[in-house]
Amino acid sequence: MHFLAPSLLLGLLAAALPWLVHLIGKRRAQPLRFAAMQLLLRSERRISARRRLREILLLVARTGVAAALPLIFARPFAERTTDLPVASLDPQSAVIVLDDSASMSRSAGLSTMFERARDRARALLRQFPSDVDLALLQASAGSSPKISELSPERARVLEALESTVCSARPADFASALRSASLILAGSTHAKRRIYLFTDLQAAGWEAGTGLPAEGAPEVIINDVSGAARWENRAVLEVSVVPAPEVGTGGIAVDAELADFSASGRRALGMALKVDGISVAKGFVDLAPGGRSHKRFLHRLTGETGGAHDVEVEIDGDAFRLDDHRLAHVELARSMSVLIVNGDPRSARNEDEPFFFAAALRNGLPGAAVTIKLPDDVSPESLDNTTLVALLNLAQPSQAMASALARFVSAGGGLFISVGDRVDATAWNERMAKLLPQPLGLPRTASALPGQHAGEIVDDRPAERLAPIDRSHPLLANFPERGEGLVSARFFKYMLLDPAVESPERSVILRYESGAPALVEKQVGKGRVMLLSTTVDREWTDLPIRTGFLPLVREAARRLVGVTGDEESASLRAGEARTLVFAGDEQRLEVSQPDGSVWVARREQASLAHSVLYSETDRLGTYHVRAVGSDGRITARPEQDFVVNLDTRESNPARLDPSQRPDRIAVASPGVKPPKHRVELWHSLAAVMIVLLLCESVLTLRRRRI
């Protein structure tokens, strides 16, 4: 502690006055011979403890007051070493950039890196002289700037700073510094500075500094980590795949773990959680800086399907956000599929159901798939079946047609694909009630002579699909341009005869020629879907396109009445998600992990009936629901998604000094850090006022004993 007027400290002698008065008072006590000593001593015993304490407190209070006065007049101050830049004392325009990226949420003692950064930013703000123009930005990718124009209102900036919270997004310093430079470009001050409060993690600097080559403002970095290295272990990836070998609802959860330390970790504890409940535990060894994979097998319960949050968690460290990672899966309703193979072949890959069954098994874990030849199928075979697929079947028997009509009307799903063996006349006759559209003549795009079914003929002339309409629920999850589907080539397909327009019938996919490729029809409680080409490679290469599996999966779900993905989309924090309005839906609501709800109205949607949801700041599961024109709310589990951490944030590697945008931050050794003067008389005055109040209260109470 230092004093501006140390000579006034002589006044501290006054602190002895209360003691002197106390001692003198004792000495001049009047002696009195008193008879009722017993009563007197008894009274004294009763109050002595309180009285003595009060006397001591009174003496201390009075001494404190007597000492505080000269101390205040002596103007005490303390000099504190600080890493806040001295440059902040100049008149200037300044943009404070606060690193609010995910890695800043790691704990550092009793607080977090982010809290430390915010404290320092707050101290800097208070240190600025009054004639400084200020703005405040965050460094996380895609974040909205807090104050994006220069303002002399320090209180406003302080308020904005206090309201800033650490996000789970990755850092994007290039964007942040670029924005700061643009803001400072309009400054009237000669000195323009960017104060960046960060832990100097290398992640986020991949795109450079973002500063202009000429006339860039001065960047001053405050490394809140104190250049301390930190060790981290993270769950980098979690994927869920079907594991039919475990049984119905069986899943395999694959986790990729990484170590970012020099020591590695043996027997790192990890756990698999399903819907927040730990269902399996294990250990894994991590080599220094190494990676490891771990697979959990688990059988999801729930015969009738349902969504599940699958989470892999490892023993916690300072950075908790990457110690767990989520996947959201929806268990399909127990699906029993009967595939009628109308064109059996000896070579498996030439067999009609080969691709179709594979798509079902992989796309719908838990689905029981049975393949039968037409002669083996009886009407009783439809019992306990939820979906029947007739693949290139020549013609259904009359009995089978009737059984199928009952089956679909009762809620079953029927998938029909055509091929060379199909007798269109017989089909149109027996299945008229079920077919979405009557079958017509086969059309060959341009068959070359000498072709044989099953050959790989990539050079055949072919048609492609017309651009897809994602407003149909079946196609809602496909990419906007229909990648994986529109690239498929159709060498041959069956034309469908015209049918009466009805609300029960809709064309899902068309060929470039306009001919229907996939048509559906609602029959009773069930649904029929007709693919006007084969599901093997005889007429098309669709089965080997990436869009085939999701198309079959979604078709099967729609036919059976099940919606939802097995594993829904997984986004990284900060990434946007396209949400599609289907049918007459007027509003889409996203229920966020913290319980808040984001709402988008149809008016906000683009021509593609979609809106962009970008508020993926929090890690967790986001649930989507839609509100129809009649106000009915329906869950849209197929649009649910999880948000996980951008794994770049897990890497504690520090930014290479050569890449730092600041030039003055690298202090020369031996240079003393700057000191700041902190006036103490305010605090002393406050203490004196408190002591005076105490003295008054104690004196009053003394009279009441």
């Binding site: 009047q30 011979r33 008193f34 008894r42 004993i705």
Partner: protein, 319 residues
Amino acid sequence: MSEDGRAAGDPARPGLLDPTDLARLASLDLRARTIVEGAFSGMHRNLHPGTSVEFTEHREYAPGDEIRRIDWKAVGRADRYYVKRFEDETEMHTFLVLDASASMGYRRRGVSKLDYAGYLASALAYLVGQQGDAAGLLLFDEKARSFLPPSTRPGQIREVFRLLEAAQPAGRTDAALALGHLGELIDKRSLIIVMSDLLDSEPDDPSDEVRGPLPGRLRQLRARGHDVALFHLLDPDEVELPFDDLIFFEGMEPGDTRTLLAQAPDLAQAFKRESQAFRDRWRTACLEASVEYRFTRTDAAPTDVLRAFLADRQRAVRL
């Protein structure tokens, strides 16, 4: 008298002197007369209102005697006024038992407790003498210091006055011992009036084995048929502790080495409560022993104290 023993002087009644005024009077004899005359203006003064129906003798009428007790037949025969005396009234002894220990000498303003006790005792002795009864005196500290047996002989009251005037506060207090000694000396039913500050003796102190508990002695006297009244005398300072400064308190009695340095105002409230509790304990103890308890502050007018005492006794007899 009020409940707290304060003087309840009546300004409309002349002759009511407070203790300080009484102290200015030359002799105890005169003080006693003043007290008695002031107390008995218009009031019967008999300390022993008889209840026995067994006639024993005549006595010449004296002012203050009840008119209904004049023997009119004797008046007709002798042409002088005589009153009848009954069994209980004859040879009725009154013992005045005064604590003369050092603590009774405490005085800051007004008179000391011993002086005050002297005023009351002399007035009572005078009254007893006026009625032709026998009055005795016992002055005690830690032992019986002076004992004057009751007698109706001429000069007895004067001897009582002399002893009272000569009494000086000294020594420690042992009221129980003195009363025990008195109990052995008297064999006739008597009125025993004890005056003490009772300090340093607790009515319910079982540890006081050496001196014996005073209430026990009082109960013994009552059991022997004696009528006992206890005047609990306290200086106003011993009731309120009305000091404003830092005081170094010291014990008064010999061998009492207790001291206390204290800001008196800090202690005042607690002391008042303690003093009140002390008096309450004694009041309860006396009630249990069927002893008349009279708390008296030394700033109370003795006339009022005496008047209240006699009035209460007569009221008790009528009941």
